[in-house]
């Protein structure tokens, strides 16, 4: 991975953040900090890791399930940039009849691999996809982007059992461990630690990384074992709101709206900050 390659991924993460600010301005409400914590992960997945083609329906593609569906606003600009749908769609985000809403709809948005929004479902969907791809001997892998607060949902652990039971080495979970849900710290609201031990106990192979370090992310994804008989879980330690100083680790910006000059100042800060 050259310095230029890393710089490109950094630029894409910036793009995800600035577009998020722009789109939320249109809707007047959105999940800034949950997207910002995942920006580097999304950048590395879409611009380095995932095997994709111009046809978003290519059967052997890698899939990404946005189990934390409220990260979708950060993904739409990426999908548009990949040419899966016209960029003009973004300009009408969340307006009456738009295919693009706060949570993604696979029937409306090319490039979205599954409709999501109801937390706790995504890993099970991923188990089904990974099972199917396995049985069809497809090289496609399934990535599932999970929120950390989301792990309170019991269904995750049903899926964890199933993923290990069926030896789904082509299933890769990524926990965006930004430590916070809407009401505050996960460890105050409903603790999920010891998280890595839990996944290990469920017979998953666990990798822990700094979820904002592009080199660490690239390294962990590049070195995922192929043909493993264990599902893989990447716990990405992140900061909620990363990239915008006044949002970092703030509970208040889980939801909010930046209008006019506030959006401009924030975009300026994102452009100046060097994350990763």
């Amino acid at each position: 991975m050259s310095k230029a390659d890393i710089e490109l991924l950094r630029e894409k993460a910036r793009f995800i953040r600035t577009e998020t600010v722009r789109l939320i301005t249109i809707a007047k409400s959105g999940h800034y900090t949950s997207i910002f914590s995942a920006a580097e992960i999304l950048s590395v997945l879409y611009y380095h890791v995932m095997q994709l083609r111009d046809d978003p329906g290519w059967p052997d593609r890698d899939r990404l399930i946005l189990s934390k569906g409220h990260v979708a606003v950060g993904v739409y600009p990426v999908l548009a940039e990949k040419g899966y749908f016209p960029k003009e769609w973004l300009d009408n985000y969340a307006r009456l009849g738009s295919p693009l809403g706060d949570h993604p709809d696979m029937r409306k948005v090319p490039g979205v691999d599954f409709s999501s929004g109801s937390l706790g479902h995504g890993l099970s969907i991923g188990v089904g996809m990974a099972l199917g791809l396995n049985r069809k001997k497809s090289p496609g892998r399934v990535f599932v982007m999970l929120g950390d607060g989301e792990l309170n949902e019991g269904q995750n652990w049903e899926a964890a059992q199933a993923g290990a039971h069926y030896h789904l080495g082509n299933l890769i979970g990524i926990v965006d461990r930004n430590t916070m849900g809407l009401d505050g710290l996960t460890e105050d609201t409903m603790s999920i630690e010891p998280l890595a031990d839990k996944w290990r106990a469920f017979k998953w192979e666990v990798h822990e990384v700094d979820g904002h370090s592009l080199t660490e992310l690239v390294d962990v994804f590049d070195n995922l074992p192929r043909n493993s008989d264990r599902p893989q879980m990447i716990i990405a330690h992140t900061i909620k709101g990363k990239g915008v100083g006044y949002m970092e680790s703030s509970r208040m910006w889980h939801l909010g709206n930046l209008s006019g000059v506030d959006a401009e100042v924030t975009i300026e800060e994102i452009m100046q900050n060097e994350v990763g």
Binding site: D105, R107, I125, G128, M129, R135, A159, A162
Partner: protein, 330 residues
């Protein structure tokens, strides 16, 4: 005793392995196994009930497309949705209480909303689990499923109609909720009688009223009509097996000219097929006939008894249906 197998002496004795011959719900596994010989898309999932619903038979013939998901039904429904995106037609089999009730949101959000071809084999519906009690009953599932967009609902009455239902719907777009009994229902159909997905099946015609039945109530309604005929009461009996899409035209044409419309179902009288018929009547401004709901009392939970006695207790057998018709028309 250490012998490998107890040789059963009493004819009332049984074990799970014997359901293979006793339960005709096994027909589902056989039909699906046959279909799967030709159709690579078909897969079967169950939640540690393979010996009960006999999906284990599918696992013998198509082990690579059989997935036992353990006692985790919500996960199972979501996994099926994931499989469907890869090109499979997954048939998900477990008790109705754990599909239509426990996994309701998963059916709606993961199967129906993306309109994926997941088939829910929701067996032991209604009160057919008898003295297992309310936790294992499902008398509300049609009411819930009926309001979910994209979801089709089919309620076969016996082994023959279940076979028809499965064979005719393989290529139906989107998800289907098959509401099934426990697999020991009396035959409601002669083999070869017409049964068409999406169309109400007229089993008997008479001018004194119409009984719409489904599931276990079809054979009951048929037997009731035969008994009533001997008393000079001639009833039309129709199997309203496809609840979604609802055969509005077929139902209304059978109601036309009748003074009484009976709906017999193993479901709460509120929200089920009776309500679906009522909707059709109101929407078409059919106000003449009296609508009589023969079903499970909406504001109660079941008493304890074996299924036979429960059906009798709640008037959901041939005698109960006949008596309700008789007393209404009298």
């Amino acid at each position: 005793m250490k012998s490998a197998e107890l040789e059963l002496q009493d004819k009332e004795s049984w074990h799970l392995g014997m359901l293979r011959t006793q339960a005709h719900s096994a027909i589902a596994a056989r039909v699906l196994s046959d279909l799967a010989d030709q159709d690579e898309r078909i897969a079967v999932l169950t939640a540690d009930l393979g010996y009960s619903n006999r999906t284990v038979e599918f696992s013998y013939r198509h082990p690579e497309r059989f997935f036992n998901m353990g006692i985790a039904e919500q996960n199972m429904v979501s996994v099926a949705a994931g499989l469907a995106t890869i090109g499979y037609i997954p048939y998900v089999a477990t008790f109705a209480s754990f599909l239509g009730l426990l996994s309701c949101e998963h059916i709606r959000t993961d199967c129906a909303y993306p309109n994926l071809p997941v088939r829910l084999l929701s067996h032991h519906a209604g009160i057919s689990l008898g003295y297992y009690g309310t936790s294992h009953h499902a008398t509300e599932d049609i009411g819930i499923m009926r309001t979910i967009a994209n979801l089709k609902i089919v309620c076969p009455a016996d082994a023959y109609s279940l076979e028809q239902a499965l064979k005719q719907t393989v290529d139906v777009e989107g998800p289907i909720y098959f509401r099934m009994g426990r697999g020991r229902e009396a035959d409601a159909y002669e083999v070869g009688e017409p049964w068409e997905y999406g169309k109400v099946s007229v089993l008997r015609e008479g001018g004194d009223g119409v009984i719409f039945a489904n599931g276990i109530l079809v054979s009951a309604a048929r037997a009731a009509a035969t008994a009533l005929s001997q008393e000079g009461i001639e009833m039309t009996v129709a199997d309203l097996h496809t609840i979604q899409p609802f055969d509005v035209e077929g139902v209304l044409s059978l109601i036309e000219g009748k003074s009484h419309v009976f709906v017999a179902e193993e479901h709460n009288t509120r929200g089920g097929v009776a309500s679906a018929v009522a909707d059709a009547m109101v929407d078409a401004r059919v106000s003449g006939p009296e609508l009589v709901r023969i079903g499970f009392p909406s504001d109660e939970y079941s008493v304890i008894a074996a299924p036979y006695y429960l059906y009798k207790h709640y008037g959901l057998d041939a005698e109960g249906v006949a008596e309700r018709v008789r007393s209404t028309l009298r």
